[in-house]
Structures are given as structure tokens and as C-alpha cells.
């Protein structure tokens, strides 16, 4: 050992043979090359924009947008195309994107898990039908499916005049109308309360999960979370002086009034996204259930549980641990895929930004904003899924 150190002192390693120094030099060179590349590209963009008498700035955002948006509000605040600026119209688009993404995630999960269970059914016909469903949906492009849902299914529905209501709901070629608690025109914006309720519910859920892990005693964390959510909604409703009213859709001459009405574009996009994503979730569910040891089924049957009890109490909770990461990926995909709304004209955030870009001539900036918004959405979903994954992971000590 000492021989080496003595040698090293006598003849110092030249820098081009010192691995540590080389590593630093290589990285600095790489960084400089990347920075130079970025600089040249930005310079090119600026030169190119100058040629077209444009500049890269965001000054247009506070200007009046001046175009109509078919549906949605800026998180509960109505949008007025005559006076509101681009920031507000982007918020309307964001609200529409979140609306379709969240409703889509819930419905796609329910449908996907059902189809996944059907794939494993001992009933031959049912599992073949589920297989065909999954294969057809997974092997054709979502865009084509959306176009089919919109132009061939939803727009070919009978007009509102000829539709008979089912349970107070109207489904026609002008969209879907259902009875719902709707904002009173003069009421206080209830939207923040719904967000607060979800946040409170999640916080309570996380807290009790932590308690459960600490004490090792069974705590119904899910139920507590749900109750908190309901309680905040009810309290908020009365605290803000009942800003909502129960609305029932009533057929008029040109459409329906009252209740919750969604456009045919929303209906087609929602159905398309839910059905497409459900085929992937079905495969995830199947893989998850198959990953649970067969002994678990046998043990559950041995202690006298029936099929559905075994599935609900024994198999699915264990399968869920395997399913959560890929499921989170599907939620990400669903959110990003909602940008295909452009193809059928639903006013999601990308569609609104695209229109804003054409309107103001600032396409570059609006697309950069779009990229940024989707990036933030993706990172948020990834963070939430990771947090949930950590909370429900098997604790091995």
C-alpha cells in the first residue's frame, strides 16, 4: 500500500489520466455544448421571429380574448368573451380539462376493473367478450375512436325534440342533461368549497392511514375520509347561504334548460376516453389479480368466504398494491390524451390555447404555455400517485 502512495507522490498523475478530473472535464464540456446548442437555437428563434416582425413575449395575456367558449367557467366564475382577458379564458380551458380528466379517471377505473374481472371469469362467453373488447380497443387509435364516438354516435342521436327523458336525464345530439345541484346566479361561488372538501377528505384519510400504520389497529381511514368530504360540502353549503339549487332539465325549443348540461363534444370525449382507458385498466387489473398467490383464494374459500367476498376482501386489496403504479400511468395518459379534444372541438385547455394563439398571432407562446400546463398536471398526478403508493405499500420491518 505505502509503495503506491510513495509512487504517486513522486510522479503525480497527469490530468489526462486522472479519472476523477476527466469526469469533471467531460461533464463541463457536455454542459457547455448543451448550453451553446440551446443558445444557438434560441438565437435562431429570435432571428426567425424578427423576420416575421414578431417577438417572444407574454404581453398579450392581459388583453381581451374576445372569442366565445362553448362551455365551462373559470373555476366557478362565469366567462364573458366581451371583457375578459386571455388568462381567464385559459383558466376556463384548464377547468374543462380537469373536469374531463377527473370524471374520466373515476369512470375508467370502475369500468376497467369490471372488465378485468370479467376477463378472469370462469364463464367462457363472458371472458371471451371481455377479451375481444380489450383487443379491439387497445389495437385501434384513440383519435379514430373519438371521431367515431363524436361524428357517428353522439351526433347521430335523435334531436332533443324527439328524446324522452330517462330518470329525468336527456341524452340527445345536443349533449347530455342531468338533474344536478347547480350554482344560483346570485349565489357565492361554491367551487372553492368542493376543492376544500376533497383536500380535507384526503388529509383525514392520510392521517388515519398513518395512525393505522403506527398503532397496527384497524382504522376505517377510507370511511373517515369520505365522511369528512361530505361534511365539508354540507357545512360549506349552509355557511355560504345555500348558493346551490337543485335543478331539473326542462326541454325548451332549442335545447334544455336547468340541471347540469354538457355538450355533445364533452359527452363523446368522456365516453371515448373512458372506454379506451378502461381497456388498459382491465389488463392491469387482470395482471394484478393474477399476481395474488393462488393459496389466498383457497384459504379464503376454506374459511367460508364466497366468490365476491373473497375478491373484495382478500384479492383486490392485495392486487391493488401491484396495480397502483401502472394505474397511475394510465391516469397520466388519460389526462394527456384529453388534449385530443382539439379533434372534436371540445374547449379543453389546448383547444382554447390554440384559438388564443391564432387570435393573437402568438402561437409559439401559447403552445409553450400548453406544454408547461400539461407538465405541471403530469407532475402533480405523479406526485399524488407516488404518495398514495407509499401510504398503502406493504410495511415490512
Amino acid at each position: 500500500m505505502s509503495d503506491f502512495t510513495v509512487n504517486a507522490e513522486q510522479a503525480p498523475v497527469p490530468f489526462y489520466r486522472d479519472v476523477k478530473k476527466l469526469a469533471v472535464i467531460a461533464q463541463v464540456v457536455f454542459l457547455l455544448v448543451v448550453l451553446a446548442g440551446i443558445f444557438i437555437l434560441i438565437n435562431n428563434v429570435n432571428l426567425g421571429l424578427k423576420k416575421q416582425n414578431l417577438s417572444f413575449g407574454f404581453d398579450f395575456l392581459p388583453q381581451t380574448a374576445g372569442f366565445q367558449v362553448a362551455e365551462g367557467t373559470a373555476f366557478g366564475v362565469p366567462y364573458d368573451s366581451g371583457s375578459d382577458n386571455y388568462i381567464k379564458v385559459i383558466l376556463v380551458g384548464l377547468y374543462n380539462t380537469l373536469r374531463i380528466a377527473i370524471v374520466g379517471m373515476v369512470l375508467a377505473t370502475l369500468l376497467g376493473v369490471l372488465v378485468g374481472i370479467a376477463r378472469l371469469s370462469s364463464n367462457w362467453l363472458l371472458n371471451r367478450v371481455a377479451l375481444v373488447y380489450v383487443e379491439i380497443l387497445r389495437n385501434t387509435p384513440l383519435l379514430v375512436q373519438l371521431v367515431v364516438w363524436y361524428f357517428i354516435v353522439v351526433l347521430q342521436l335523435p334531436p332533443i325534440k324527439e328524446v324522452e327523458p330517462v330518470l329525468g336525464m336527456y341524452l340527445s345530439n345536443s349533449g347530455l342533461a342531468i338533474p344536478w345541484m347547480v350554482q344560483k346566479p346570485d349565489g357565492i361561488n361554491f367551487f372553492p368549497v368542493t376543492i376544500l372538501a376533497v383536500a380535507a377528505g384526503l388529509a383525514v384519510f392520510a392521517f388515519f392511514v398513518q395512525q393505522r400504520n403506527k398503532s397496527g389497529k384497524p382504522v376505517p381511514a377510507g370511511q373517515f375520509g369520505f365522511l369528512t368530504w361530505v361534511a365539508v360540502l354540507v357545512l360549506g353549503f349552509f355557511a355560504l347561504g345555500q348558493p346551490l339549487e337543485y335543478g331539473v332539465p326542462i326541454r325548451g325549443n332549442f335545447g334544455v334548460n336547468g340541471g347540469l348540461t354538457v355538450s355533445p363534444e364533452f359527452t363523446a370525449l368522456l365516453v371515448g376516453l373512458v372506454v379506451y382507458t378502461s381497456s388498459f385498466i382491465a389488463e392491469i387489473t387482470r395482471a394484478g389479480i393474477q399476481s395474488v398467490n393462488k393459496g389466498q383464494w383457497e384459504a379464503a374459500r376454506a374459511v367460508g368466504l364466497g366468490y365476491s367476498e373473497t375478491l373484495q376482501l382478500i384479492i383486490l386489496p392485495q392486487a391493488l398494491r401491484v396495480m397502483i403504479p401502472p394505474l397511475g400511468n394510465q391516469y397520466l395518459n388519460l389526462t394527456k390524451n384529453s388534449s385530443l379534444a382539439v379533434a372534436i372541438g371540445y374547449s379543453d385547455v389546448l383547444n382554447v390555447l390554440n384559438t388564443s394563439g391564432n387570435q393573437s398571432g402568438q402561437n409559439l407562446q401559447t403552445m409553450v404555455i400548453a406544454g408547461g400546463i400539461y407538465l405541471v398536471l403530469s407532475l402533480t398526478i405523479a406526485t399524488l400517485v407516488n404518495a398514495y403508493n407509499r401510504a398503502t405499500k406493504f410495511k415490512t420491518r
Binding site: 457536455f30 387509435p141 379514430v144 403530469s378
Partner: protein, 393 residues
């Protein structure tokens, strides 16, 4: 006396369809109800589809626009280029398939499918010369199969495909004195295929490089690669396409780049980021002992990576890569949103033609079938390949 004490042997289980139905469809009450409900649904779907297909659908729109669906606005007098490439690709597929399945007999269904395709082309004569050239292509597949079984090692075919790819790109563009073809004239299925193939070929080296960069021990390189991968993966492909349409000409100082090339740049960058994540999974699955052993026998860092780590990593993630390629193939339909005329875009144009108003169902049904055949073939091909490559049996 002893004989009577022995119970008679159990009756032989004769597999009859009644027994099968009882076990698989009507084993208990719930199952019976499920069978009846699902059966009713299946009958309803199939019968309404059949009624539509045989009585209401106006299939005339497909043969009338067959050439446009396949090649878009590819100049008619230059169509020999696509036929030539089609026949070469068919021949090479046959050769490759044959070289991979030495000593195996061709399954009967392949003859049936080949005969149906050839007969169909002969009878319908859709498009330019297809009555002769489609049967030629089918024969090329079979001829290739038999030649490949005796003469061609499969390793040569891997090189051949690279040559064919560049040859095809040249053949689809270069002017041989009788007028060239511009990429903006590509359309229909041809554009769909070229976008996906160029996308996967171009994104492969970039994706592998990004994956190596992300797993490297150098923090700055790893950080830059990670940021690039995550930013692209967090952005929807439509936005990437929009940005590519706007940025690519500007980045090159206002050069005039055709929209098809811009879409290719977009799809390459997008696909590279996803490919990098798949390859990274493979790189991490290679045991550290492999690297240590390689270094111990005196391989340099680069040699270890190229000869030891990468081959194992890529083999491990092959199914994921095929899955990604299928996704890419389906995702090429998004270029419809930026106005290119691949399968989905061309269908949209055809159905807005006053002569073919109200034929959306027929068109979208047809292109869905085309997409399905390609995706399904790729996924079953991948399953076979996986079995062939599995050396741990």
C-alpha cells in the same frame, strides 16, 4: 367375491359439447344469468353490425378511394415506386420468416389467407394494376419463405432491413429523371407507415443515448438527460406536434421545412423519451456482476457497455419496445390534427367530398380494421419473437 367388493371403474369422461357448456357456461345460477345476458348482448351487437354491413352500408366509397386511402396524393405515374417497395418488403418478410423457422412446415392458414388476398385483389381490381401486383406480392412472401428456409441465415436479414429502409426512403423521394416525389405528397397508409417507421428508427439511437446518459454516474449529464426525458414525457404528443410545426422552421433560422418532416422530428423526440425510459429499465435489470466480470477480463468501459450491458438490456425490454412501437403506430393518427393526410386525415377529407357525404361509418370502419390488423400482427409477432429469443428455457 372379491370382484364384487371392488367398485366399478368410474365412467369414462366423454368430452361432449353439452358437458363443456355445462361446465363453462351454466355451472351455477349466476353463471347462467351472465351467459344469457352476455349472449343477448353479443347477438345484438353482431346482428346490428351485420344488418348495417350488408343492407345499409355503402361500401362503394372504399374501392372508389382505395388508391387515396393507401398512398394519399402520391403522383399516380410514380406509383410503381410503392409497388416495388411493397414487393421487396414482402419478399424480405418471407425470407426472414423462413430463415427464423428452419425445418418447420408452413401452417395451413397462411395458404388460405394468401389465397384470399390474391383472389380478392384479382376479383375487385381496386386501384392501379393491383389485380396482378397483389398476387405477385403474395407469391413473393411464399417464395421468400422457402428460399429463406434453405439459403438465408437470419443474421443477414437484419442488415437487409436496414438497407431496405434507406432504399425505400430514397425510392419514395428521389427524382430518376421522370420527376421525383415530395414528402408532402405522401398520404394514407403510406404516410402512417413511414411516420411510424422513421419515428422508431430515428428515435432508437437517441433514446438509447438518453437512457445511458440518465443512468450514468456523472451528475450533470444525468440531470440534463433526466430533465429532457421528463419534460417530453409530461407533454401530450399533440402539443409536441404543434410545437414542432412552429419551432422546427424557426430553430433552423426560418428554413422552409415540409410539414411531414416536422411531424417526423416531433414524433422522434417524443418516442425517444419513452424509449429511453424503457431501455433504462433494461439497463437496471442487468446484474452488476456482468459489468464487474467484463471489467475483470479487461474490457474498457465502452466495450462493456456495447458488448455486455446493452445486448442484455435490450433483450430484456423487447416486449416493452414492441408495445411502444404499437403505441407509436397508433399515435401517428394525431398528425391529422396538424393537417396531414395519413389514414385518419385522408378519411376525413374523403367524407367531406360532396360525392361521398354520409360515408363516415364505412371509412372509419375500414381504417380501424387496417389499424387493428397491423397492431395485432405486431403484438402476436412480438410474442413469437420473445419465445424464440428466450434462451433460459
Amino acid at each position: 367375491m372379491e370382484a364384487t367388493n371392488n367398485p366399478p371403474p368410474p365412467p369414462a369422461r366423454v368430452p361432449t359439447w353439452q358437458l363443456w357448456a355445462k361446465e363453462n357456461l351454466f355451472s351455477n345460477t349466476t353463471n347462467s344469468i351472465l351467459t344469457v345476458l352476455t349472449g343477448a348482448l353479443v347477438i345484438w351487437v353482431i346482428s346490428s353490425l351485420a344488418i348495417w354491413a350488408f343492407t345499409q352500408a355503402r361500401w362503394g366509397v372504399i374501392p372508389a378511394n382505395f388508391r387515396i386511402l393507401m398512398t394519399g396524393s402520391f403522383p399516380t405515374e410514380q406509383l410503381w415506386r410503392t409497388w416495388l417497395v411493397l414487393i421487396i418488403v414482402c419478399l424480405s418478410s418471407g425470407l426472414h420468416w423462413g430463415s427464423l423457422s428452419r425445418g418447420e412446415k408452413l401452417p395451413v392458414w397462411t395458404y388460405v389467407v394468401g389465397a384470399i388476398i390474391a383472389l380478392f385483389a384479382l376479383v375487385t381490381q381496386m386501384g392501379h394494376l393491383s389485380g396482378i401486383l397483389v398476387p405477385v406480392a403474395v407469391i413473393a412472401v411464399f417464395a421468400g419463405y422457402f428460399i429463406g428456409q434453405i439459403a438465408i441465415p437470419s443474421r443477414i436479414m437484419n442488415i437487409a432491413w436496414v438497407v431496405i429502409f434507406f432504399g425505400a426512403v430514397l425510392l419514395f423521394t428521389v427524382d430518376f429523371g421522370t420527376g421525383g416525389v415530395q414528402t408532402k405528397e405522401w398520404g394514407g397508409l403510406l404516410l402512417t407507415l413511414m411516420l411510424s417507421i422513421v419515428g422508431i428508427v430515428a428515435s432508437f439511437p437517441l433514446g438509447v443515448a438518453l437512457a445511458i446518459g440518465r443512468t450514468s454516474n456523472y451528475p450533470i449529464i444525468s440531470a440534463i438527460c433526466t430533465v429532457f426525458i421528463e419534460v417530453v414525457r409530461g407533454t401530450p404528443l399533440v402539443v409536441v406536434f404543434f410545437i414542432a410545426q412552429l419551432f422546427v422552421p424557426l430553430l433552423l433560422g426560418g428554413a422552409n421545412i415540409d410539414p411531414v418532416l416536422r411531424a417526423m422530428v416531433g414524433i422522434t423526440i417524443f418516442s425517444a423519451a419513452y424509449l429511453a425510459e424503457n431501455v433504462r429499465g433494461g439497463l437496471q435489470s442487468v446484474p452488476a456482476g456482468q459489468v464487474e466480470a467484463a471489467r475483470a477480463v479487461g474490457l474498457t468501459g465502452t466495450q462493456t457497455l456495447l458488448l455486455i450491458v446493452l445486448p442484455q438490456a435490450l433483450k430484456a425490454v423487447l416486449p416493452a419496445l414492441v408495445g411502444q412501437f404499437i403505441g407509436l403506430f397508433k399515435d401517428t393518427s394525431l398528425v391529422y390534427i396538424i393537417g396531414l393526410k395519413e389514414l385518419a386525415g385522408i378519411s376525413d377529407s374523403i367524407r367531406s367530398n360532396p360525392d361521398f357525404i354520409g360515408t363516415a361509418q364505412e371509412l372509419y370502419f375500414t381504417i380501424s380494421v387496417i389499424y387493428f390488423i397491423f397492431s395485432y400482427a405486431m403484438s402476436s409477432g412480438a410474442r413469437n419473437l420473445e419465445k424464440k429469443l428466450n434462451t433460459n428455457r
